[in-house]
């Protein structure tokens, strides 16, 4: 699957025509073809093919050690794949560093959220991307923009954007991390276990937020162990099993029973894989 082939479909981008792999659907924002990753003798990813369309939530599910985290780290530029190709908006790209992923418009929200508890919301939102005026931090511009982004995402539970992030609840922290991810014109947001540590009402808030992202045309990949959440929020499902992507497709093709089968055994009599 690693042989380049002709593009099958109109390119959405001007510029030099680049070869897309066979079967690459140009309507997908991100397409993985034959992605593999070795850690020494361990094969963490085995020829993974995945299409992630814009404006949809793709849930990546699988048991511990199935390779979900390795896969998103390959997309986010943290691990370089050992083999395979990544297509972004129909063009072949290589994502060597987190910065490269960010420049393409890929933002990742890790489970630990990577927030600084000792900084306030505005400071966290702009961390590493501060606005300045003549070399001096432009706090007012940053605060206004933060309020705008939070209002835009209907994040209304924080009382002040100058609150320290350490004082926020789990759901609020998740919301801030997501808002930071989408602030920089991201086209794909990857979220690792966004609801793992949350209570019922906060989980609902975060799932709501994920749906709003998709409604804005952003592609979302969500890793989750919680099938209730997956079926509540996902448009598409992709199941990983021992480094293989064993099944993927629209959520209507699955039900919780078949999903559990796929997660635990890698196959299910109930799906047409």
């Amino acid at each position: 699957m690693t042989t380049p082939g002709p593009t099958n479909g109109p390119s959405t981008r001007p510029g030099p025509a680049t070869a897309a792999g066979p079967g690459v659907d140009s309507s997908s924002l991100l397409s993985l073809r034959g992605i593999s990753k070795h850690f020494g003798a361990v094969e963490a990813l085995k020829h993974v093919d995945l299409d992630v369309p814009a404006g949809q939530v793709t849930a990546l599910i699988g048991d511990n050690g199935a390779g979900k985290s390795t896969l998103i780290k390959a997309i986010a530029g943290i691990y370089e794949p050992s083999g395979g190709e990544i297509f972004w908006e129909g063009r072949k790209v290589s994502i060597h560093t987190p910065r490269a992923a960010e420049e393409l418009g890929i933002a990742t929200v890790y489970q630990d959220l990577a927030l600084c508890d000792n900084l306030d919301i505005v400071e966290n939102m702009f961390l590493g991307h501060e606005k300045t005026r003549t070399g001096v931090l432009d706090e007012i511009a940053m605060e206004l923009r933060t309020k705008e982004v939070l209002a835009d995402l209907s994040v209304s539970t924080v009382s002040s954007v100058r609150q320290l992030v350490g004082s926020l609840s789990g759901g609020q922290r998740q919301a801030i991390a997501v808002a930071r991810a989408v602030m920089h014109e991201s086209k794909l947001v990857i979220m690792d276990e966004p609801t793992a540590a949350l209570g019922v009402s906060q989980t609902a808030q975060v799932l709501d937020l994920i749906k709003r992202l998709a409604a804005r045309g952003i592609a979302v990949i969500v890793i989750s162990h919680n099938l209730t959440d997956v079926f509540a929020v996902a448009d598409r499902i992709a199941v990983m099993y021992l480094g293989n992507l064993v099944s993927s497709g629209p959520v209507v093709n699955y039900d919780p029973a078949s999903a559990v089968d796929l997660i635990t055994t890698g196959e299910s009599s109930r799906t047409a894989a």
């Binding site: 959220l113 990577a114 501060e130 931090l137 009382s159 002040s160 350490g166 609840s169």
Partner: protein, 412 residues
């Protein structure tokens, strides 16, 4: 129960912001309130025990003592914010001053500015070297600077004894000597302090106004004006203290030069910390280095910058120290100096765990330490009691830091 209330983010009435202040208080970010109360208690106690304490002469002396603690504490603050520490800062600052004093001596006769530059360059180079070892080789700062504490003392003793002046080199050059031992004229004292306060008030008012005009929450106007009034009053009180004649036989008045030196250093350091990316990154790295790294910040570069800034600040502190002692000797107790520096920073409210603190905390903490030492000497307390009292104040301060830290990470 919804978390932290469900007030929309767009609310901008004064009540919300007042509640924000209150929330910060509850989070343990008490600011300077407790330490200022502590300072007041100390002042009252010493004044009751000995009425000389609040005399202009003694207060000026206290401020001079404090200038050195303050600068050393500021030097330490750069690293404490990262969760690092520099145990060598006492000897490093003394070593820089030693080089300056030697170069100003009869033998070399360098101009004062060149000697001062050498002193600061020396401490900066040492800070950079230690920082480089700590960052590149991933060594703990505690150990590297502990080695520094021992090693630089050795270099200091070697350098001084080589001069063959019996272990002490006096400062004979006028500018360095005058740094602590001479004063601005009363008029210059008025002008300098009032101009400093005017600039500071202007910054506060402008900050407040630009927030208001951009439609952002701001503290109530009366809080701003109360701050301004407090600043102006304390400025005037300072001028009156410094401009009172404190000589017995000759007229002696005006502000010692060391104080403007501290004010300029404080302004510069505070500017870097609060208004520049570098300062923001130092806080971020101290709070969550991994988050800073993922945000694309070159963590090592900014950690090294903090070590460099510690070196620069220590260089200035050493010059004040040599000036105050009127020379430098091989018996300098850099170990005690660094402990008092860390104590000053922590007493002022800077966290030992990184990510929390301000330069102004070093000023307040330095004043507390100077007050203890000055006051205890006035009421003839033994050195033993002084040590114990400092220890108690330090433990109280660290306890408050620890409680504040716990309070600020409570999830509700």
């Amino acid at each position: 129960m919804s978390d932290a209330g469900s007030t929309p983010a767009a609310t901008s009435d004064g009540r919300t912001s007042a509640m924000g202040q209150f929330r910060r208080l509850r989070q343990g970010d008490l600011g300077l309130v407790p330490v200022l109360i502590g300072l007041l208690v100390l002042v009252v106690y010493f004044q009751v025990r000995n009425t000389v304490f609040l005399s202009a002469g003694n207060l000026t002396n206290l401020f001079i003592q404090a200038t050195i603690f303050i600068l050393l504490a500021m030097a330490e603050t750069w690293l404490l914010l990262l969760g690092e520490i520099d145990l060598s800062v006492g000897y490093v600052s003394a070593l820089g001053a030693t080089f300056a004093v030697i170069l100003l001596d009869q033998q070399f006769h360098w101009p004062w500015y060149a000697a001062i530059l050498v002193a600061i360059a020396t401490t900066t180079a040492i800070g950079t070297l230690q920082g480089f070892l700590i960052i590149k080789l991933r060594l703990p700062s505690f150990i590297v600077t502990l080695a520094g504490l021992l090693g630089w003392e050795g270099v200091l003793i070697f350098s001084i004894d080589r001069q063959g002046t019996g272990g002490t080199i006096p400062v004979q050059e006028k500018v360095l000597y005058d740094l602590v031992n001479a004063n601005l004229s009363p008029l210059a004292t008025w002008i300098f302090l009032m101009a400093s306060i005017a600039i500071f008030c202007w910054i506060i008012i402008r900050h407040d106004q630009s927030r208001r005009s951009s439609g952002l929450d701001s503290v109530s106007t009366w809080i701003t004006w109360a701050k301004v009034a407090a600043l102006v009053i304390s400025g005037i009180v300072l001028v009156l203290i410094f401009n009172t004649n404190r000589g017995s036989f000759t007229v002696l008045h005006g502000m010692p030069y060391a104080i403007p030196v501290d004010i300029v250093m404080l302004a510069g350091a505070s500017f870097i910390l609060t208004r520049t990316k570098a300062g923001r990154y130092i806080y971020a790295i101290g709070g969550n280095a991994e988050a800073a790294r993922r945000a694309g910040i070159n963590v090592d570069r900014y950690r090294l910058l903090a070590f460099i800034l510690t070196g620069v600040t220590a260089g200035v502190a050493g010059l004040l120290y040599a000036s105050r002692l009127g020379g430098i000797s091989d018996g300098v107790d850099g170990g005690n100096l660094v402990l008092l520096a860390v104590a000053s920073a922590v007493i002022g409210g800077t966290s030992l765990f990184g990510g929390r603190g301000k330069m102004v905390n070093a000023v307040i903490g330095g004043l507390v330490i100077a007050t203890i030492y000055n006051g205890m000497a006035l009421i003839d307390m033994s050195a033993a009691t002084q040590f114990i009292a400092t220890a108690i104040v330090l433990v109280v301060a660290v306890t408050m830091d620890s409680l504040a830290r716990r309070g600020s990470t409570v999830t509700r």
